[in-house]
Subunit: 205 residues, 2 copies
Amino acid sequence: MEYNTETEKKILAAATEVFIQKGKDGARMDEIARKAGLNKALLHYYFRSKERLYSHVFSSEVRCFFHAFLDSIPISENIENFLHGFIGNYIEHLRKNPRIIRFILWEIGHGGQMFVEVVSEVFSESESKTPHSFIKKIEQAVQEKKIRPLDPLHLLLSMIGMSIFVFIAQPLVESIFSGVQVTDSAFIEKRKDEIFQLIWQGVHP
Amino acid sequence: MEYNTETEKKILAAATEVFIQKGKDGARMDEIARKAGLNKALLHYYFRSKERLYSHVFSSEVRCFFHAFLDSIPISENIENFLHGFIGNYIEHLRKNPRIIRFILWEIGHGGQMFVEVVSEVFSESESKTPHSFIKKIEQAVQEKKIRPLDPLHLLLSMIGMSIFVFIAQPLVESIFSGVQVTDSAFIEKRKDEIFQLIWQGVHP
DNA sequence: GTCTATACATCGATAGAC
DNA sequence: GTCTATCGATGTATAGAC
C-alpha cells in the first residue's frame, strides 16, 4: 500500500500514545509532534488532518488486536475445549493489551461508529472465525445434546461480558476491593477458572 | 445545602444533555448556554468553571443511578431470589437509563478517577447494600451448601459483566447481529432469563 | 441576577523558506 | 521532507453596564 517511512512511524507511535491517553478531543497535535521529536507541520504533511491521523491510529490498533485474538482461538470440534479456549484466549489478549480497552471505551463513549466499522471489516475478512460461526458451533453442540438447550447468542454475549468486565471496570474494582490487582497473574488465572467453571456447569445438559 | 433556583436547574439540565452527548472535552459552554436559553456568563456565575459544572453534573447523575439501583435490590434471605432479583433489577435499571452508560464509559475512558470517587461515596452511604455485603451473602450460601463452593467475588463480577455488556456494546451488537434490538422488551426479558438460568445452574451444588 | 462585549489563551492548519 | 512563523477560528473566562 504505502511505504512506511521512519518519520511516519514516529508520528504514529506518538499519536497512538497521546490519543489513547487523552482521547481524540483531548489530544493536542503539538503534544504528538513534541513526543515524536518533530513539529506540527509534519503531522499535517503526512496525515492532512487530526481527524485522519486519529482514524489511522484507531483502525490499526483495533484491527491488530482483533486479528491477533481471532488467530489465537483454537479450532476444536470439542465444545468444552472450544469454550475453554475462547475464554482463556480472550482474557489473555485483554491482559496483554490494556490500552486497547481504554481506546475502545473512549470511542464507544463518543458514539462508536468507527469502532463498529472496523470490527465489521475485520470479521468480514475472516471466514472461519466470526460471531456467526461461533453461534453455529454452539447450536450444533445443543443439537448433539453436548450441552443443554439454550440461546447461543446469549451464551456468547455472556462469555464476552464476563471476560471483559474486569478490564473495563479495573479502576473501580481495584478501588472497592482493596488488594485485588486485576492484571496480576494469580487473579487472571483465577478469573479464567471461575468463569469457565460457571459456564461449563451452567450449560451442562 | 443550596437552593436550586430555576436558572440553575435550566443550566444543569442543558449541561447534562450536552456533556453526555459530547463528553467533557467535546462539550462547549456556548452550546450549553444556548440550550438553556441563557448566555455563557451565567454558567460561570453559577458554577465558576466548566470543570466544576461537569463534576456537578456527572456526580449527581451517577449518584442518582446507583442509589436507585441499590434501593431496588430485594432484601431476600433466599439466595435464588437474591441472585434473580439482582440480575433483573440491574438490567432493568440499565435499560431505563441508557445515557448513564455513555456517561460512565466516557469518564472511564478518561481515567475514571471521578467515577471511582462517586461510587465509593455512594456505597459508603449505604449500610446494608454494598459489594462486600453481597459477597457475604454469597459466602453464607456456600457455607450453608445452598450453592457449590466458589469465589463470591468472581460470581459477583460475572453477574455484573454479563448484565452490563450488551448495553456497553450495544452499537456493535446491533450491527453484527442484525435484527437484535438491545433495548427491546423481548430481548431484555430473554437476556434476564438466559443469564439467570446460566448462573443458577452454574452455581448449583 | 442577567446581559453584552471582550480579553486572553489555545488549537488546527497553512504559508513559505530551506 | 522538514522547519519556523503565523493566520484564523474557537473556547473559557471575565469586566462592566443594567
